[in-house]
Assembly symmetry: D2
């Protein structure tokens, strides 16, 4: 049994990590930190976890933490993460960082979208934790930059097409919709029930969301010449789930069967990607609570575009579940360990 | 007081018509038809209407109907509408038809997307009931083809740009999201609470939704050469509301101020279109229950695209409210009569 | 046109007051105060109100306020209300206070459940603003204590039975369920979308909610000997609406027809109370956005109990709408002015 | 590995059984029947199950079924169950019946609330499948009558109090609220999203719901003299979850500590009952997707009543999960096998 700890356990991602880890066959959850709830049982902060964990939230020093666990999930805001992670690594620990701090390989891009980076040397070392693209590097890494939720839904949907050169990358438009848990467990008027329920809105319109450079970084790994794409996030009146609708100009030599083959070739063996049959399209409610990414697509011959629709549970495959999948790879566990639960519906 | 009737009063559009008309200062609602609920008070079918109307749903013949009212709202499925409307017109009545039967001017297009048309001669006469584009024709028409909900949200958002030639029409992508009332008050598994709540899905992906030819027809009135566009509808877990996110390549000579001017020029005097200030974007919850269409936009200089976001309440401006606005114009009433209620929030 | 002002316009009740008043035929809304949003247009705080009001939220002194209006709605928290109201009255103004500060006639009870009262002399003068019980006093009052939302739903349902001595008052149990707008527009974790949606909970169990003394005060006006009752509030995943399920031991001499007569006698002429036919029961969605209170009941001969179910929209009949109804009475306007909109469904 | 089958797999309970069983360590799901979806993969009917099961829904004869499995879950409507179960038992199979057909021990009561019973001889043999009350009988039974959802939430909450004689049974009032999945996956207007969302209603008011005789039967097992109680079900705008608020007159000799002891004594060792600390009350969102029943209580000294609040997930502990718990007992598996997943929140 590996001892693991969650740094930042009082957000929705931290709670989901705890939920998954308390049933994981290979690990023991030995610490959960929270400044705000220090001294309180984690199962009091998240009563769903009663009887599942006896952990008390504490405000540990890094030293104390290092004495309690060998692998850490840092589920803290960006900036905070890069203050903590170097010390954990120096102490010989493994880290899956769920913040944005180690996702962008180019420090200039990071500093343009966030702020000054204080652990630049680790950017080269960190592996972008999307197992479907970087599985082998993940296995041997000690620092995983766990992908953002929107990027996961978008990159998985586009990768086979980009790899095969099947679409014009300049034409890519990603219209994404996320559940409200993506806004975090933060007391703010905009996330109140009455502001969100029975409503729907776009936000960060016009290429201003911080997940955009991360999406473009991964798209551009497939291209000779970097491109910019359109990305519009929206806020859904649901708790969990992201659905991305993707548009791109398809090269005329590809038909439905060709595209299907590209997806099958890349994902048929993947434990957590499900390619849907023709004329089937995903829905967030069919991946809820699971680590699956569902993908469906359709070619519109009238416009020459392909439309791809992908869904994930934003706090599972988009955060905590993918982090556990990464841990499984880093530690030689079965890749699906702790992540077998079927999506719950309704 | 004008006597008016609703043919097909047992759907959500019929109920909303009744709700609006029972408080309208210039009309008296004198008949409501429903095969399914014949003999029942309308206020029993829709208990929100108790004390607001004493009407009994009945299964009237056209003759009986003609004796009871002078203007008719036909809120029945397509095909049924074209069976009824000619007789009403022959009897000298005015009609606002909320079905799709008279929206497409080209009978070939209608028959490609629907079925054989049995009242072809009326297609030329029917006026597409979008007051912001066809106000003068509406005033003198006896047959209004009330626009579809998706088309209303899309055409109002694009018209000023198309008119000015500010965008490349071939690049238009409409990613639309609708509340569940758009699926009608029909007993089907796909519309059950447990299938829709806490979920989100795309449907009719790849240019297959029947509102597409209607959208393209209106877009093409602004163009020399007809285009096809991309349109993807999605199902939101809300009752009322449509939000359309529109993407198009902007001609480089237009900046934010130019575009704003185009919108202001076209809509500043419109009673039901609200153009939002820069960096403000609409949300369905701010138009709920009202006849407003809210529009916001942003230019993304990285990609050269403009992104426009528009919202309406699908059963008000997208159906019943717009129908009443059309009636007001046809009958010389104040255009906003019966439609002054502010949107309710939360 | 009467000039009216809202003190505390940035909460849900304030917003609903603004929504109703901006369409009211007899008043002009001339001021809206908000410390937090001072300087911002009210229609920016609540974008549903765009085009409906140009008011700017400001942090007026009482003097400035008195120069701007003749009747005030104080939609501020308790304690704050009793700091403001005396000055408004001294300046000759009328006040509808939506806080709890003037609802309890017995200062000792107020101080037991809230805190020290600083305007005790006004308690005698204030009229409890439930028009169905106190219409005549309201007409001539200058200070209305607008009832709480839960009490409105409960007292209206019980009054005819208590008045006739038809039930054992000691047996009363009120199991009430409220929408989340009742928790206010306050940034707190417990009111976040993700905490409330797809969930349901009881709170303040065991007779500890501050609406209880108010409910008992009004019940006891019908009795020789005061009683305590059971009251359990619950939090519904809806924005608007309260449903109270009430249980009481019925005196054996009363049957369904007798009880129905009691309700009809008391409420048949009431513009905002709808008594449902036998075997019909209310639902919050049928009063949404309206000032109606719907009431249905059933006698359970197996247990000898009567079960009464009542619904209101908590921010209309439970707050802003009832406040406007009170203003209408105080000012000699038509009692239903501004409140005619039919409930919206769905 | 035990071969098990689901008869009636196309409802929400059937789907949840499949979801649990496909991850169960001791069983293999070998058949799923559905008349409506015969020939379709179960994972097409419920796309959340893709990759989790390859089963095809079929319309098997009883003979074919008996060749495929050794234990059956009958998730069919009452009446249908009693047509099937006798043949399965005759063939030597074990059955967990999720219908109401074998829950009532008194055939006269069954026939009063349902219809003629065609397998009366089995009523004596069937064990009421509430493990917390009947664990030992369940272990050796071949026919389990799986409890109704409302009864489970109510009986578990009351049993310790009834057993100790701590409350007056005649005073019991059960005010229960259920998620919409309880209405089944049936195409009917009343269960549509637009009818249920953002709303709340009571139904079957006044002691007319068919779960009432089942509740009273189990209450009366603790009493010398049978009683009738009050039970009012309500429909919540959530998919999963039941919360019951229970009221009873407490014998004056019991205080909080006494009552807590009664609950602890009965449930401390129970794997699926969680008694909450003082002043903590359950919420449906903390048991969602799990087999837990959470119970909290409060004594109201003002009225002498105890208020108990209990929650379950209606399709897990209220149906499919409890059925699996029963199977585990019948077959000698670990009682919690397949049911370890922590509740998911949010």
């Amino acid at each position: 049994m590996l001892n693991v700890a969650i740094i930042g356990a009082s957000g929705y991602t931290g709670a989901e990590l705890a939920r998954i880890l308390c049933n994981h066959p290979n690990v023991r959850l030995t610490a959960a930190t929270s400044r705000q709830y220090a001294g309180q049982p984690l199962a009091q902060v998240f009563p769903n976890l009663r009887r599942k964990t006896d952990l008390i939230c504490e405000n540990f020093t890094t030293e104390e933490l290092c004495a309690r666990a060998d692998l850490f999930f840092t589920a803290v805001p960006h900036k905070t993460a890069m203050d903590i992670v170097p010390d954990l690594l120096s102490a010989g620990k493994k880290v899956v960082d769920l913040s944005a701090d180690f996702r962008l390989r180019d420090v200039a891009v990071y500093e343009e979208w966030y702020q000054k980076h204080s652990a630049v040397e680790l950017l080269k070392e960190a592996v972008y934790g999307l197992p479907e693209l970087y599985r082998e590097q993940i296995r041997t890494s000690r620092l995983i930059a766990n992908p953002g939720c929107y990027p996961t839904s978008i990159i998985l949907a586009l990768a086979p097409l980009l790899k095969a050169g099947a679409i014009d990358p300049r034409s890519i438009i990603a219209d994404s919709k996320s559940g409200t848990s993506g806004a975090g467990r933060v007391a703010q008027v905009g996330s109140l029930y009455c502001e969100v329920a029975d409503g729907f809105r776009a936000y960060k319109v016009g290429g201003t969301h911080r997940h955009l450079p991360e999406i473009e970084q991964e798209i551009n790994t497939f291209l000779q010449e970097p491109v910019h794409i359109s990305f519009t996030p929206h806020l859904l009146p649901i708790s969990r789930g992201i659905l991305s609708t993707l548009y791109a100009q398809l090269k005329p030599e590809f038909n439905h069967a060709d595209i299907n083959l590209l997806y099958e070739k890349m994902y048929a063996q993947e434990p957590f990607v499900r390619i849907l049959p023709e004329n089937n399209f995903p829905a967030t409610q069919y991946v809820r609570g699971s680590n699956f990414c569902d993908i469906g697509f359709k070619i519109d011959s009238r416009t020459g575009r392909i439309i791809i629709v992908s869904t994930i549970d934003n706090i599972v495959k988009g955060a905590a579940g993918q982090a556990v999948q990464n841990m499984n790879l880093m530690c030689g566990f079965t890749e699906t360990a702790g992540l077998e639960t079927a999506p719950f519906f309704p």
